[in-house]
Amino acid sequence: MARKSHVQTTINGEAVEFLCEPRQSLLEVLRDELYLTGAKEGCNNGNCGACSVIFDGRLVNSCLVLGVETDGKSVETIEGLADPDKLHPIQDAFLENAALQCGICTPGFIMSAKALLDQNPNPTEHEVRYWLAGNLCRCTGYDKIVRAVLDAAAAT
């Protein structure tokens, strides 16, 4: 077993330290070491987007980032999105549009949508579909998810 590294990073705006082995992905660190279980594992190889987080301002699959790579960087997860008394507009739009069924894909979709709207506040339906193509949902057929993201864009 490789020695554990000491990592200092910022998660949802707060300084966080942890120990991890190099082989532990950011997803494993979030879930198993920091108990931030909002990011989900659907495939562990970049194919489903359930683990999507924003890493140094950019959307990534946290299963394909090593925990040690986050040293000195910043990570945003679903847990950091809402204010204590108010949901983020994308979260509201998902609820209003019934854009989730089982909900396992939802944190990934919301983080992915946030990354999209941060850089393109008025996407077309096609742009939304292109951007979200790395996030799989097996329950909804995507219709209501796409509508929720378009609604969230219109609302902000």
Binding site: E21, P22, G46, R58, V60, N61, L64, L116, Y130, L132
Partner: protein, 292 residues
């Protein structure tokens, strides 16, 4: 996943020295979208990951209308298509960077990583070939440069020596009346690996009716991405017509040596080489014609 050590190299020479010291079980980590998956699935054994993303030279993204593009080996796809001048100069490469994985994969995946992974189906390699790109390689004995079409030697294998790294990729400034195009065939519209990929670059005459020169390259039809030399040469000096394009497409088909696997059958691939070569050539020509 297997246990390994991680180190972030700060300079090219440090990375080279580390590779030299750690031996052949050390691997370079760029975006990790191939390496981490392969290590996790046990498809590649390694004991060190040497992260190059803190090395300045591999992060360069520099376009100059005089000297062309210098693309650091670890620059992720999303940074490339964010630069308008690059989109204008090298649309074929940009086509590829926009279809690798999904948005989140493009947040990490580097063109350099795509090249070094040397998959026969790698989407960036055909456009790099048709754009006359060269690889800048650093090793214990200094730097060397080789054309991209000579870089891959077999599936997953490259010309890189044991202690060598890819530092950057250089692409010359595009000529007047030229453009490029890359497309692939996949059963879905995203998140899929090319069944066949085809890239084309063309230089047209002033009137945009005649092909001055062309380059065609293919993915997923041989152990490495292929430069379709004959098909390319036969277009030089020809008037643009469906017949000439068909002829080039047939010449491209003639060099395809595809296999059947879970992503497609050999017959399907050979057939698609024809279709995609035509579409890539027509796409590149259209881009030249559409440019003001």
């Amino acid at each position: 996943m297997q246990a390994f050590e991680y180190i972030a190299a700060k300079t090219v020479s440090e990375a080279v020295a580390l590779l030299d010291e750690k031996g052949d079980q050390a691997r370079i980590l760029a975006g990790g979208t191939d390496l981490i998956v392969q290590a996790r699935e046990g498809k590649r054994t390694l004991d060190w990951m040497i992260d190059i993303k803190s090395i300045p030279e591999v992060n360069v993204l520099d376009y100059d209308a005089e000297t062309g593009l210098t693309l650091g080996a670890s620059v992720p796809c999303h940074q490339i298509y964010a630069v308008d001048a690059i989109c204008e100069a090298y649309p074929g490469l940009v086509d590829a960077t926009k279809i690798i994985g999904g948005t989140a994969i493009q947040g990490r995946a580097a063109v350099g990583g795509n090249l070094c992974n040397a998959s026969p189906a790698a989407d960036c390699i055909p456009p790099l070939i048709v754009l006359n790109a060269t690889c800048v390689i650093a090793g214990p004995n200094g730097e060397r440069e080789i054309p991209v079409e000579d870089f891959c030697t077999a599936p997953g294998q490259t010309v890189l020596g044991k202690s060598e790294i890819l530092v950057s990729i250089k692409i010359p400034t595009p000529l007047q009346n030229s453009s490029s195009y890359y497309l692939r065939f996949i059963p879905r519209n995203e998140m899929d690996i090319a069944v066949v990929g085809a890239g084309a670059a063309v230089v047209l005459d002033e009137a945009k009716q005649r092909i001055v020169s062309a380059r065609i390259a293919l993915a997923a039809v041989a152990p490495t991405p292929l430069f379709a030399e004959e098909a390319s040469e036969l277009l030089a000096g020809k008037e643009i017509s469906d017949a000439t394009i068909d002829e080039a497409a047939q010449a491209a088909q003639a060099i395809a040596r595809p296999i059947s696997d879970m992503r497609g059958t050999a017959e399907q691939r050979t057939h698609l080489v024809g279709v995609l070569t035509r579409r890539a050539l027509n796409g590149a020509i259209q881009r030249v014609r559409d440019a003001a």
